[in-house]
Amino acid sequence: MAEPITHIHKPTFTEEQVMEQKLEVLKKQFANNEDALNKILDIVGELHEIGVLEAANSALQAKEKIAKIVLEQVSREPVTHLLNTLMGATGAMMAANPNQITTLIKSAMAGVDAGSQFVQEDKRVRVRDLMKTLKDPDINRAIGFGLHFLKGMGKELQENDQPQK
């Protein structure tokens, strides 16, 4: 005759026994991964020697404080402006045609070279020279570029100045 049992006897382990069971599990894991674990211990040793572990430990403990400080710093107006500027500049660079930019940079470099040469010659430029040089196709091309550059920039400035709808 089986009387109903309402109690489950669960073995109670002493702290030492629980520790022993956990160590047993760990021991197995160690034995199975000996090589990898040795390497990790070497690395840890190195890191400790040069003081990285101590710094990391402190930083981890102060993680919330540090995060708040970083957040405060980056939330300041100059920084948000900087971020906006960087993001704007990055965006503009991304929008530009790389071929055009290459030509422009090369041309500018050539201009710098020619300019430096002129400065070294120590000559004066007169109005007559200026009028005459307009006929020079190289100079005419550069001035044309400059004028159209100003036009394009002015147009963009006006469009951006209008209130958003």
């Binding site: 089986a2 049992i5 109690h7 006897h9 073995p11 919330e64 957040l71 948000t80 709808k165």
Partner: protein, 977 residues
């Protein structure tokens, strides 16, 4: 629906589409990405968000509500269409703060996030401003929260509440300065009529409605405290990057989440409807349940399926085998426990003979596990003494169908029920017992003109919604069913042509019906002649009638005959062999259908092959290498008798709390005590387990692979979502270990192999396998050649001549009690709890809503006995007594009481009242035929149902989201032409 094809152009490319489809459906079918924030295929077009606007034949229209027309020229991204879509999105974003990376809904499936990204939204036109103070975020409900400040008022939550779940709680206050979602007339969620089905949370396209289990839990940075979180959000806004930048960061974070959050498809374990969904887990923690593409439920769930899974991680789970030693249970190793089980069961079999061992299987475990239990019985113990808990509920329904139409399953699917012109529910309360199935009836009734007749002694939710509600005297359903059939035949409203072509024994049946006149029915059932005529007329006028029934029919001494009478009525009126009609016994447990299909029945081998069928038996004898007894074995009830008589000595019981769920529980206690050896396999230390010699810890559905078969005969796969807890094991593993220790030499490494073996021996499963069942796919048994068969009997009924048979059974009078037992006590499920509740009572949220058991008492009776809510009463039947608190409600009337079955306590469990009264054909206990007398122990007390329970709260029905009210708002500018 018109099936003809139309030709259209989308962005100048030619497409074909079926006439009658909406533009958005064509876009989605062709995988053309297009914004559609508020589009939800399960409901009618909501039309609140306007993001789906397209240009069609030069008009701006909503693609979600505009049907394609032949020659239609559709432009998705013309300047005008784009402008409308962007304006629509801008209006939404003014209501929603985009802090995606630190949002718990950033899991790759946030519809708002994905749409904004799809539309290349870089900035928003209207700045975000909160609607309310952050203190108004509603955290009151145990399972979910609503944050008005994140809500874009797209109204999907309202639409599903009003028109899919049809609980009618949510609405949008369109006339408010800043519209928002409200519960009832604006009360806190937990004080409202919300039943916690969670569909609103599931469909929310952002984080306005969130499962509390997700909050602060789903992301890597979502658990931040406000003093860290808010500055971070502010920083992001101050820096004002284009949203594509924000989205990129949040996507990186979402991708990281993907590696940690596991999403596993499973099938719900809380009832026979068979909802399927993904369970999201993080290690052993359940983050949420996410329904989406389940073939039965789509986005629907009930409170249990969506939120009731805490039991899986309960401290009370059994995690080690237990052995009875010196008056206590002691933990053991598997080796020790299994060896002991095998040794004892083997000894008893060899000493006392084959039939000295009985096996009881479970309707909660998988098909594969049920198959193995019957195999263990028939191959290893060489006995047919195997049964399952359908004996307590469904056997009479199966019997009634087997006799009349030849197959013991639902005639069609949930889609047929939704499609029917008339649904008749007899003795069942699907709104609580089969909630998602009930929603499809509620939706069809509310929106699509479906008629509803309910026959029940208790006024449940379906009764409140019905067109005709009858309360026949207990145990008399068969009489009104036969009288209505008789009357219809007399009037010539039956389907003579269908009967001649399809049914035998019509003249014998007509003769038998002679007695069942309307006058006789009125006298026996108490239902007026006029009402019975109205029922007959409604059946006559309906385009398809489905009859749904449950325990109110089957748990009677005439349960099988009443089931047959239902089938007879359907046969007489031609309501078989067509969509939108037929017989639908509502299976209670998640796999009660499957347990029977797999042959854990004393008379049936897997796939409904009878043990008396020599050919079928021979096939199994070859496969199992043993001879199988031609005589059916003992059923549950007979096994208990056999134990009492000292013949059966040992029992192996899986997953059933027999000491609670069997009738006359006091008697069961004694019988179980008399066993020489008793093995119980369960996930919890059940009441039955207290009598065990060995308890084996099993794994619940989330911890194993397998299949379940729902009430529609639909087989669906479940995938392992979690590792097994502790040393618990899947049932199939345990059964195999026991079998092998008794010399069986089984070698199953995965349930798919078990399924394949079963299918190879069962013609009706011949074409089913794990590949065809992959993912969301499913299979319906029902064809002799093993094809999937959603609608039964299309090629004729399951008899040699393909003809059905009218069953010829007279009504039997219910059991009569001595006069002192003056109150009838009814019992049944309640929505929040599964069965006796030992799984759902581990959920804090569910316990908060229904902390206790109670007995429902009618206002008349309460007045007569001088009691109020909370009064303590003792109920005494000839077989036992219980003691509990009263809840006064007009759901019950006069001298009728109702006791929910969610009790694991001897003080309050219904089966300490029920007695040894059985259905004449199947031995199913007549639980519903119980009478008691009531003793008042104290006339008042605390109301046993808390104020926060949704029962008795007033619902707020309306016609879906009512977008017209949005359009009528002053200043609203239409974006369509």
């Amino acid at each position: 629906m018109n099936d003809s094809i139309v030709h259209i152009k989308i962005n100048d490319v030619d497409y074909e589409a079926s006439a009658g489809t909406k533009i958005i459906e064509v876009l989605n079918q062709n995988n053309i990405p297009h914004p559609q924030i508020c589009y939800l295929p399960s409901v009618d077009p909501i039309q609140t968000c306007d993001t789906c606007i397209v240009e069609a034949n030069s008009e701006l229209v909503r693609s979600c509500s505009t049907l394609v027309e032949d020659g239609m020229d559709i432009k998705l991204d013309s300047r005008q269409a784009k402008a409308s879509q962007t304006e629509a999105m801008d209006r939404l974003l003014a209501n929603h703060s985009l802090y995606c990376t630190v949002c718990d809904n950033n899991n790759g499936n946030c519809k708002l996030h994905n749409t904004a990204e799809l539309m290349n939204i870089e900035h928003q036109k209207y700045p975000y401003t909160p609607k309310v103070d952050s203190s108004e975020v509603d955290m009151s409900h145990p399972f979910y929260r609503y944050d008005p400040n994140q809500c874009i008022t797209c109204g999907q939550c309202v639409e599903v509440c009003q028109s899919l779940q049809v609980n009618e709680t949510l609405s949008i206050d369109w006339e408010a300065d800043r519209p928002r979602v409200i519960w009832d007339d604006g009360v806190a969620i937990n004080e409202s009529s919300c039943v916690g089905c969670g569909q609103c949370v599931t469909v929310c396209p952002c984080n306005a409605l969130m499962e509390k289990s997700m909050l602060g839990n789903a992301g890597f940075m979502t658990g931040l405290k406000p003093d860290m979180l808010e500055p971070m959000i502010d920083l992001v806004k101050e820096v004002e990057p284009g949203y594509s930048g924000i989205f990129a960061v949040s996507e990186v974070e979402a991708a990281m989440r993907e590696t940690r959050t596991k999403k596993t498809k499973t099938v719900c374990t809380f009832c026979g409807v068979g909802c399927s969904f993904e369970v999201w887990t993080k290690d052993r923690e359940i983050l949420k349940i996410q329904p989406s593409e389940g073939p039965v439920n789509a986005v629907s769930t009930c409170v249990k399926g969506k939120f009731g899974w805490d039991f899986v991680n309960s401290e009370e789970r059994l995690t080690k085998p237990l052995i009875r030693k010196n008056g206590q249970f002691v933990e053991s190793s598997w080796e020790e426990a299994l060896s002991l089980v095998a040794k004892k069961l083997g000894e008893i079999k060899s000493h006392y003979g084959k039939d000295s061992v009985g096996l009881i299987s479970s309707s909660k475990i998988t098909n594969e596990e049920n198959y193995l239990i019957q195999k263990l019985a028939r191959q290893v113990f060489e006995t047919n003494n195997v049964d399952n808990c359908s004996r307590y509920c469904q056997s009479p329904a199966t019997d009634g169908l087997m006799r009349t139409v030849g197959m013991g399953g639902d005639a069609g699917t949930i889609k047929d029920i939704a499609k029917a012109g008339l649904v008749i529910i007899v003795g069942a309360n699907p709104a609580e017992g089969h909630p998602v199935l009930a929603t499809r009836v509620k939706r069809a009734h509310k929106l699509h003109g479906q008629k509803l007749i309910v026959s029940d002694i208790r006024k449940n939710e379906m009764a409140e919604r019905s067109d005709i509600f009858i309360r026949p005297k207990q145990g008399t359903d068969q009489v009104w069913l036969m009288a209505v059939t008789h009357y219809m035949i007399q009037q010539g409203w039956h389907d003579q042509h269908f009967i001649e072509a399809n049914v035998n024994f019509f003249s014998e049946y007509k003769d038998m019906l002679e007695k069942y006149t309307l006058e006789y029915a009125e006298e026996i059932t108490g239902i007026s002649k006029e009402t019975l005529i109205s029922i007959a007329e409604m059946i006559r006028d309906a385009d398809g009638t489905c009859v749904l029934w449950g325990m109110g029919v089957t748990q009677n001494n005439g349960g099988s005959d009443t089931s047959a009478a239902i089938s007879n009525l359907l046969l007489a009126t031609g309501n078989y062999r067509r969509p939108g009609a037929g017989a639908y016994p509502l299976r209670g447990h998640n796999n009660v259908q499957g347990a029977c299909d797999m042959g854990t029945l004393p008379g049936w081998l897997p796939g409904y092959q009878h043990v008396e069928d020599d050919n079928a038996r021979a096939k199994f004898e070859v496969a199992y290498g043993v001879s199988i007894d031609k005589k059916p074995g003992l059923n549950n009830i007979e096994m208990l008798q056999s134990i009492s008589e000292g013949k059966m000595k040992a029992m192996y019981l899986v997953g059933e709390d027999m000491a609670l769920v069997d009738a006359d529980a006091n008697h069961v206690d004694k019988v179980l005590s008399a066993l020489d050896f008793f093995v119980v396999q369960d996930i919890f230390f059940s009441r039955t387990a207290q009598y065990a010699d060995v308890i084996l810890p099993a794994a619940p559905s989330l911890e194993k692979d397998g299949t379940f078969t729902n009430t529609e005969r639909r087989v669906q796969r479940l995938y392992q979502a979690l590792p097994t807890l502790g040393d618990s094991k899947p049932d199939w593993w345990i059964i195999q270990e026991v079998a092998n220790r008794l010399g069986a030499n089984w070698n199953y490494t995965h349930p798919s192999e078990i399924f394949a073996e079963m299918a190879s021996l069962s013609p009706i499963f011949a074409k089913a396998n794990y590949e065809t069942l992959e993912g969301w796919n499913s299979f319906f048994w029902g064809s002799p050649n093993g094809e999937s068969t959603p609608l039964l009997y299309e090629d004729g009924f399951n008899f040699p001549d393909n003809k059905a048979r009218f069953a010829l059974s007279d009504w039997v009078e219910p059991y009569s009690f001595a006069e002192e037992f003056d109150l009838h006590i009814n019992n049944g499920r309640i929505l929040e709890h599964f069965h006796e509740g030992n799984m759902t009572n581990k959920s804090k949220g569910i316990q908060a809503k229904v902390p206790d058991i109670f007995v429902e008492v009618s206002p008349e009776l309460a007045k007569e006995r001088g009691i109020t809510d909370g009064a303590l009463v003792r109920l005494v039947s000839p077989f036992g007594a219980v003691k509990l608190n009263a809840l006064i409600t007009d759901r019950v009337q006069k001298n009728e009481l109702f006791l929910p079955m969610n009790s694991v306590n001897k003080e309050s469990a219904i089966n300490f009242l029920t007695g040894p009264i059985y259905d004449s054909r199947t031995n199913t206990p007549a639980y519903k035929q119980t009478k008691v007398r009531m003793e008042v122990l104290s006339d008042r007390g605390t109301k046993p149902l808390p104020q926060t329970n949704p029962r008795d709260k007033k619902r707020h029905p309306q016609n879906g989201v009512e977008v017209e009210r949005k359009w009528q708002r002053p200043g609203y500018v239409h974006l369509t032409t």
